[in-house]
Symmetry: C2
Subunit: 263 residues, 2 copies
């Protein structure tokens, strides 16, 4: 069944005009016509069954019929990603949508070579991935901000793990399982917060600058984590960290809350 | 420091001829010349410091000096992946190399639309990713085989998890942690083997055919696993499963062996 993300409000009988691009996709690529049904969602009103009411060369109109699924949101997880080359950045946004991130915030660090990104295109990639993955919202893609500025305005109730290739850092999965109430020799202390409202930060290919790393380590809401002994490209690190978080603390329902971990 | 994968034996004073492609990379792209040093590895003799002994238009010759790191191998993990479109397949091979898979076996299933792949090109992608990620071997990329044939010849001491979108399946991380001696209400029984010599199988975009699924579920060395509530593209599923395995059972050193898990 085709799923389309739309901006309009959804209610019984609501008419949803489609612009040339989604209309062409629906009519020409997917060969649908007047009377055919599909699913639509807008991130607010759940998923609705809709019927193609009008179809023309310049657009189409859908009519919402009935709600198929009520609105749900995945876990409150943000991905913060230093700007990388366009193809890898687009891949990261696609995967963040599939892996249930709620927001993708682009970051400029001292070793980042770029300072802009095509947000409209990235947002369209996020919407298309959300359509295919079955989620009922689309992650917001937020325009690039400088890391220092972003940390200065950080809401301290969102815990931030950052992937740190240099220096000592706890494996990400270990932190998340420990935060679940596991312990072994180690108390879960502040680790539990990394399982709730959280964010994952991946630096640029060249890594964080030492001053940036010091700033990150000094902030009260952060924790450095490691992703194993091999050097990972930025996209691999981001995808891996998102998968680990969803599996251990998110909606993949594993490493549950009472698993103790030895030190 | 530049790292190059070479086929030749490595020993003190060994001369390593480079063909036009690696020579051009080294001399023209990376602007190195006679006397400059780099690191080389062949998957057998560890990592060696080598010096550029000769450089010409048609090639170059390196001379091995001294071993920098002894040979090591990562955990014995295979990735089995149904053939998908070329760009996604190349991405999967790159990521499998970064994430420490020892072998990538290509699989033809009933819903696979392709039956061949450019193995030489995939092997080159694996080598380049291995060079960048710092590992001392390159994963073998094995030519496509039919799933039935592959299962018929399977060595039963390699446990196989397959990502199953249809039907009941335990979350992958849960299986791996349970296999670590965790238990809660559930005994670790056969789960421990999925932490040792293991393989991860990802089906095609259209999923496994019902007869294939029955065959997979019936085999004594297999276990179906889930990767959360969203529909993942083949590349996302493969990368996520590799990361989870390395984090929970491989060399990322997390979810250690005594973590109990509730039922």
């Amino acid at each position: 069944m085709i799923r389309l993300f739309v901006a309009d409000d959804l209610s019984p009988g609501a008419r949803i005009p489609l612009g040339p691009d989604p209309a062409r996709y629906l009519l020409a690529v997917m060969r649908r016509g007047v009377g055919d049904t599909l699913l639509v969602f807008n991130g607010r009103h759940g998923e609705w069954r809709a019927r193609i009411a009008e179809a023309g060369k310049r657009g189409a109109v859908l009519e919402a019929e009935a709600q198929a699924r009520p609105q749900t949101l995945g876990p409150d997880l943000d991905l913060l990603i230093a700007l990388v080359k366009r193809t890898r950045l687009e891949l990261i946004v696609e995967k963040a949508a599939e892996l249930g991130a709620r927001r993708v915030r682009l970051v400029i660090t001292r070793r980042t070579n770029a300072d802009h990104a095509n947000i409209a295109r990235l947002q369209a990639i996020a919407a298309e991935a959300a359509e295919q993955t079955g989620r009922l919202d689309v992650p917001d893609v937020v325009a690039p901000e400088r890391l220092e500025r972003l940390l200065a305005g950080w809401s301290p109730d969102r815990a931030l793990v950052f992937c740190d290739e240099a220096g000592e850092a706890e494996p990400l999965l270990h932190l998340l399982v420990r935060g679940a109430g596991g312990g072994g020799g180690e108390a879960p202390e502040g680790a539990a917060k990394f399982r709730r409202t959280a964010a994952i930060l991946n630096g640029p290919e060249g890594g964080f600058d030492p001053a940036e790393r010091d700033g990150l380590r000094a902030a009260p809401f952060t924790r450095p984590v490691s992703l194993g002994p091999r050097i990972l490209r930025a996209d691999t690190a981001a995808i891996s960290a998102l998968a680990l978080w969803q599996a251990a603390a998110g909606d993949w329902a594993a490493c549950p809350a009472t698993a103790p971990v030895p030190n």
